[in-house]
Amino acid sequence: MATAHAPAADKYYVPHGSHWPIVGSVSLFLVMFGAIAYLNEWFGGWIFLPGALLLSFMFFGWFHDVIGESRSGAYNHQVDRSFRMGMMWFIFSEVMFFAAFFGALFYARSLAVPWIGGEGVKVFNKLLLWQNYDPSWPTNGPARIGGHEDGSFQIIPAFGLPAINTAILLTSGITITIAHHALQAGNRTVLKVFLAATFLLGFLFVGLQAEEYMHAYKELGLKLSTGIYGSTFFMLTGFHGAHVTIGAIMLVVIWLRVMKGHFTPKSHFAFEGVAWYWHFVDVVWLGLFIFVYWI
């Protein structure tokens, strides 16, 4: 081949083998097995914990290696692009994961509940099954599942805590952008401050969500088991909260890296990947705020 004696810069980069992926597979198996054992009330549910620890260890070790390789200059532009594309497609898969739960919300709200109430050709549901059911949203179904003793429940108004949370997340989207611009301009002090502000806002959001959950459970009768409203509400906000927590941890990690002097104005993929992820949880929240809390 013509390029057989080209300098090393023209060569492809191929990483050496690694033991982290197999640690990841084994720890995922332990986590899943522990969850199965716990749910089936078998002996061995505790395996979940060492599995989760091993999984964290895997993330720590794998990223440690990759960061080391990156900082030693082993990666070329092509590798950088692979990482970027990989992160984008990963976020797309996450979007589709949320799409399943949003789909459940829309289907239940605009089709299933009216049908149970006897809309259109489903009129016999009203005539024969549930004469007294009022199919208006929010609902916990004709059997009034969950909620208070009498089956009633209240919902969280959009323009209370959820609106404050929206402001918090949107602000955090601005602070991370300021931090990014500071990184590109080489202004490390602004970078450190605004990155810290971003994850602090993230944790504040999670804390307020936890507060809201306690209020919902203790006073409003709004629980995971409160019919379809409780199911969709807690599934969507719960998975979103989990993602915010993961995103905030990621922000802490890159903040610690910034404190150690990592990243240059030109090369900082990890920062950008985390920023994309943070914007993704932000956008999902806007969907939640509009369709779960507001409308």
Binding site: T3, Y12, I36, R81, S225, F234, M235
Partner: protein, 534 residues
Amino acid sequence: MATHAHAAAHDDHDHKPHGWRRWVFSTNHKDIGTMYLVFACTMFFVGGTMALIIRAELFQPGLQFVDPQFFNSMTAMHALVMIFGAIMPAWVGLANWMIPIQIGAPDMALPRLNNLSFWILPFAFLILLGTLFVPGGAPAGGWTMYPPLALQGGDSFPMMIFAIHLRGISSVLGAINVVVTIMNMRAPGMNLLKMPMFVWTWLITAYLLVAVMPVLAGAVTMLLTDHFFGTSFFAASGGGDPVMFQHIFWFFGHPEVYIMILPAFGIVSEIIPTFSRKPLFGYESMVYATAAIGFLSFIVWAHHMFTVGMPLAGQLFFMLATMLISVPTGVKVFNWCATMTRGSLSFEPPMLFALAFLFLFTIGGFSGLMLAIVPADFQYQDSYFVVAHFHYVLVPGSLFAIIGAVYYWLPKWVGRMYDQKLATWHFWLSAIFVNVLFFPQHFLGLAGMPRRIPDYATQFADWNMVSSIGAFGFGFSQLLLPYIIIKCVKSGAKAADRTWDGAHGLEWELPSPAPFHSWESPPSAAVIARGAEH
């Protein structure tokens, strides 16, 4: 790293790790591809054994061998094992082996992620097959896991859910890797419309995988919370709807069937031109047809559930959208026929499997059209006609394409030629028995025999017996495949670099067997041009 590349240029085997480390820590696309293929082959025989248990029970009316609960477990597990354990990993294995070679790359874009994608699979199937040994037995509510039946499973229920979660993680990570490899690792000068068809079909397959596997994860998560945590997603008493599960499931499920067939289109588009000694007819229309099928796959899901009681407008929409798919599929079949027209044809084993694909997949497509017609579907729903339809597209469709691909590229993989005479025997036994096995199931279904049933009225006895004979003939003929491969690896004659004289594509520009790191540096424009004659 430069030293590694340098050393590897001298001797491909120099830095290859040895022993178990080579496989467990592997970041090599060929080794991981091999592991995927071996895993798929193993699961193919596991799932095949389950199929033979089903066909043994159905050989005669009455209950002979297994109790009905176990029979139902076999139908559910056979599907789960074959779909998630055999066909999909086989495609990922072929993608791993061939995509980097075909686009002039050294490896997959994210080699370590590749290792994780594979090694999740054995654990997922350890859990799934483990359900056979827990109280209550394996899942018996069908692979579609419809509530409320699926929610009544015993200890196997959370095992099935978490096995699917693991399998989904593996698929998504694997698909991300494929997309990134194709988008980022192509040799300079290989633009999108110069890519081999197998690469194109896999690009669209990978997109479908990333889009729908998370939706399946969401669906089974809702099943899990309905069972264990008191949610009401699929319970009408709480305002939910069991039919909602079917919608979410088939939003995953229909793209999923194209995930299993699109790479087969790619394989056939590679094999037919080679053995017709002509370029592929209508390459660009093939690409656009594949993309159109990928797009349409997202808007046809409810044709799997016409009888659940959906609004008439919905039935009409999904019927017409489904029929629309026959247009791009027809383009493909036309192009394959046009490629062969006035070609210089020869009938080596890969070509035989590709031709059988062409005829038999088309039969499956036609029965699919019949099923798409709503009023007709009310008759066919849940009958053996459906079983015949999807086995025609999956067995002489996907599976034949996989076997064809193995016979096409095996000499490139191991550097040795297999016993073509034996492979031709394998083909004829498979092609005859697959029809004996599945064709009578059309008649059974049209006569009213329901699917997933261990016993049946005596009027169905004759065709069931024929079908079971076909099943055992087909199942045992498949043992030839591992035999031929092992014989080839051990004692095959040396294969030429360009194994088939009509073959084009970058893989034939590499020596046989292909070096450990396929392309150390990008292939030159001349090499790409030689390969790009489709």
